[in-house]
Symmetry: D2
């Protein structure tokens, strides 16, 4: 299924080298003002070719064309269709991949599933699809903002270089997109950039971690059983290309801890409200938000395409060597930040709307 | 929503201290032979009170009563309803929790969401619900087995004690349920057990990690976009009580690696088939199985209920101290193994049936 | 799929001759007071054996056992599981049907679909399943009532005897269940009863029509495209055993009319509100309620089981004559009234809750 | 929700006077050859302005632009995005409708639901949306044809003029689109056309009935409970603009019949197969196909827009007279034939694929 969400549903279509990517966002509340220029700016931030460690040839000019669902800059409640054109597609770049399966790509599994595939640029499996998630997520952010809820995402690790700020609040730069690696701390960002440049010069690639953060979400949002808020977020994040892991709150670190180190004691807050002294839980208990910030991490593997000759096999079982070419980043993590950001917004707005349906 | 799955759907209901837990498994293929006695044995393995580090009072005798969907020991394709009775419920044990919110439990968030809650034993949020997942998952395992697909799960870490066997094959004991901690290596299991006993004596609790493994799944299973096989597994695992993280293949470790260290080179296998030399990917590419074993990890936090007096607040904002009582494990990980096991079976059978629907 | 609804979801299981029928109602709002005794009374009204034209042997005593989701007579928002026991099941009554396919029953199609079937009393295809819809619908009625919305259903036609009162308001008896045929006009009811008695004496059966009516539903409820309110109602009604047709507003009669005869002119109502002079539309425009009463008809075919010897074939292609026996009504329409009633309540509450999810 | 279907899902977006209508068809099996020219021809058949009884100004040239999901004229299994441009939109034609609610249109209900609406040409509620259903349905027809399943639709009644051929087989013209009214009998078609011309001259409109027919569907397709094949068809048909009723098999006529007149006796067919002597049931029992032809009727009301001055009210409660203008058919039934045709194909392919998912 190419649809994400329950009440708020993003359906996407399109291959990286077709005429355009197409998305339909359904279930968007009416009456939300959306700045279409800011969507294009955000789309361009996600696009490859703007970061260090990438061949400069690919520098897409991104624009989302909105085909329905808005009147006078405001959503009408009807579905919002949009396209993002695929510029710069050069199909003959991919002729050598018509029969060969690139290692750790989806070429082989698509062939196994469908018996046919579009071999150009990864076809449907290309990260190009995430442009549509950015458009959809931008609409969600506008609605959440109207409800006092904000979403953030930033690079918290590349290789072994870690951002060490607190996870449950926004510190350092509130807009990490101003930095090349999308890390909110300038000095750490510089060290990450230097690492990515070294890796790129070696024709190699490297992985990392993106952190997501939600503030302003009231207590009581999320479903208690199979659609726990953390299950919805995990599903959303693991649907992103190259994502290999998800945790929230203390996450994997919590596996080594004692219970006495991790309980979030309830206290009475400054305005007489019930809150917690600490936030080891990551803002969720029993699948439902508790009013504290939600934070989580998403691990990304290194990009599989190396700038080196690569041995593999073809669909007829022949051994071939793929030459080193193409236009690829040495690290997908900075680009993944916008995608994590937008998938978080889609997930949280969906959960928020589901909660509305729970009361007569 | 209290339903899990797309084609194969498990719907559950019931609170820990009501008369019974109720489940309906819908979409189960017809003609599958299911051994109901083995389900009861598996249910009992999941139950508390059988492991070291737990007050002995609670030792439920577990039995799933099947109310529909079978004729002569075989599934008919109609929905399978079942109940698991709640024995040993002592509601007055919970009178002190009528108004108090236990820290890092779901008491407060249920109250925020619904404005009302069943305070006895965690109500709907109790891990008691997972008994129904074990019943449903047992049916799924029977169907998968008939198709040559097997699912395994075991404890791979408690605190800092790690099982160090390979993740993508079954080694040591093929049935980890024979060991107290569900770790397949006897010596590691003993060290884990000793740790849990020490923690329990201190009135504390400790977390850990469960590993899941699927073998025999053919290439081509899984949806390519938002229902990627890893997204379905992540959602399933993060819906389990106390689960805080999920990763698959190289997972979080991959965030620190170079691409050149992690590509799974395609090769021609012993029977002329296309396979990969290594399995860093964890058996999935682009959301679709590649024919290799699928493996993943699920991190669990320590149980929140400590055997110590606990300060908290009530729903009227009063500060109280909850006394140290109740009947609780010092480590939920060994019990979680059966739940991870069964949620994996439900997820994989669902994906397998979805793939059937993809062809005319 | 054995689940009905989107936000409010009723999942059912059970065969007519198993130990019990099982239902789970999920998505029910919290805080709704529900009178369980009235549910049992309503269940008994639906049961066979209470109406003229039926062998008196089958007179089930109906009781819904609630297993979860309520505290102190009030819903908690968690799923409500319930069972209705199957009393009086005599499996050997059905031995002659183990291999034979009854005409115009689902015996043959279940065999074709599943390769196996429970031949006793229609198995899963039995109208016994509708008892669960009555329980679920009773909960929905309680929630709707709390929101000022009321649902009615009554017999409007049996054979060629028609109730001729207005369709969009409640006239004559507001509780048609006090009459044997569930027709709100005593005199018409008597003529219907006389007809059914005559048909029963001839060993035959006869069809009819049930009318449904919803009042108090505010304007703006219903989805505008594929889940139009009339599409949801049609789907709900056509899922009832023996239902063969659905129309709303002027319905099939409208096919022969001119547009100038049927437009509902907008006018200003007595309280300054916008309303319509007439209600030919049946309270819905473009799939969305307009604030007027919703009314619709559901056509039921005659029951297929006659009290006559019936020629048919077996699963091995042998010709056999089924003897005239069993315990069956001569007309299902009076019993169908409660089912139409309850399916309407489930549909309208679902649509009402979906509308809640449409706004930030 | 703007998505139709379970496994095969058509999602649509677009208003009648925006730049284009957009659809995404997801779940389409791979390897189906589709003739895009024939889709455009079919689209043009559906468009207004080609039939008698319509102002000639509106004669759209229809073309579906396919943006993804195909390679070399064959489906790849990935989602198929397409747009149909809106030519001839003249927004200022609709300025007089900015505040007025046309009677028996969706203007008022959209305003009630969303608090905002696109008033031009009915916006989202326009029948223009059905162009997308025609494109989606054409893909479904290609897949069904490959499986030996054929779908037909034709006009069986306009006003009181009825086509009297048998309902469960194709007689007279197998391609009713060659006739102006889409009635397969030339003489009846002529009488219908004459009626529509008379009605149009009077500035009025008239309703009618479309019959749908499915042949070649094997026994065993359809879900037994809430997604009965007739429930899926009813929901699909009642989602079409102006549809007011649905019945199948003997339908509403069956309400007046005796059971002894309507049972479909099982017999052994010419090839030793189990079949039925008659087909009163309409090819479905217990929600599942029995191998016989499926046939059903869909009632359409007269178009609400008359070529006469029309009194109504505005959103501020003012009384106004809408002038007689616009470009409208006097009878929507001939155009509805293609929509019934395509919605049937989408429904049947969806059910067919769901049945595939039922077996391990």
């Amino acid at each position: 299924m190419n649809t994400f969400g329950n009440i708020l549903r993003l359906t996407t279509a399109g291959e990286s080298h077709g005429p355009a990517m197409t998305g339909i966002l359904d279930g968007m509340p009416s009456g939300v003002m959306v700045d279409l220029d800011s969507i294009d700016r955000f789309l361009t931030l996600r696009a490859p070719g703007h970061l260090p460690g990438v061949t400069s040839a690919r520098r897409d000019c991104e624009h989302a064309e909105i085909l329905s669902g808005m009147v006078g800059g405001v959503t009408t409640g009807t579905p919002i269709a949009f396209t993002v054109a695929n510029s710069g597609a050069r199909p003959d770049d991919y002729e050598h991949l018509r029969h060969a399966f690139r290692p750790s790509h989806a070429d082989y599994t698509y062939q196994a599933k469908y018996g046919i595939r579009d071999h150009r640029g990864g076809g449907r499996a290309s990260a190009r699809e995430t442009a549509l998630r950015v458009v959809g997520g931008s609409f969600a952010m506008a609605a959440l903002h109207q409800a006092g809820i904000e979403v953030y995402a930033y690079t918290s690790q590349i290789g072994n270089i870690r951002y060490t700020g607190p996870m449950d609040k926004v510190v350092h730069c509130p807009d990490p997109y101003v930095y090349s690696m999308r890390c909110p701390d300038a000095e750490t960002n510089d060290r990450m950039e230097a690492l990515v440049r070294r890796v790129a010069q070696a024709g190699d690639t490297i992985g990392g971690i993106v952190t997501g953060l939600v503030t302003g979400l009231p207590a009581g949002i999320g479903e208690p059983m199979y659609d726990k808020l953390q299950a919805m977020l995990a599903s959303a994040m693991m649907s992103i290309n190259a994502a290999k892991g998800f945790d929230y709150g203390m996450g994997f670190d919590g596996a080594t801890r004692l219970g006495s180190e991790m309980n979030d004691e309830f206290v009475i807050g400054p305005h007489g409200e019930i809150t917690t002294r600490t936030n080891y839980s990551g803002g969720i208990q029993g699948g439902i938000s508790n009013g504290r910030a939600i934070y989580f991490r998403v691990a990304f593997k290194p990009i599989a395409t190396l700038m080196r000759p690569t041995p593999t096999v073809t669909d007829s079982g022949e051994r071939v060597i793929l030459p080193a070419r193409g236009r690829h980043d040495a690290c997908c993590v900075p680009r993944a930040v916008a995608v994590v950001h937008c998938m978080t917004a889609l997930t949280i707005l969906d959960a928020y709307l589901m909660a509305k349906a729970g009361h007569i």
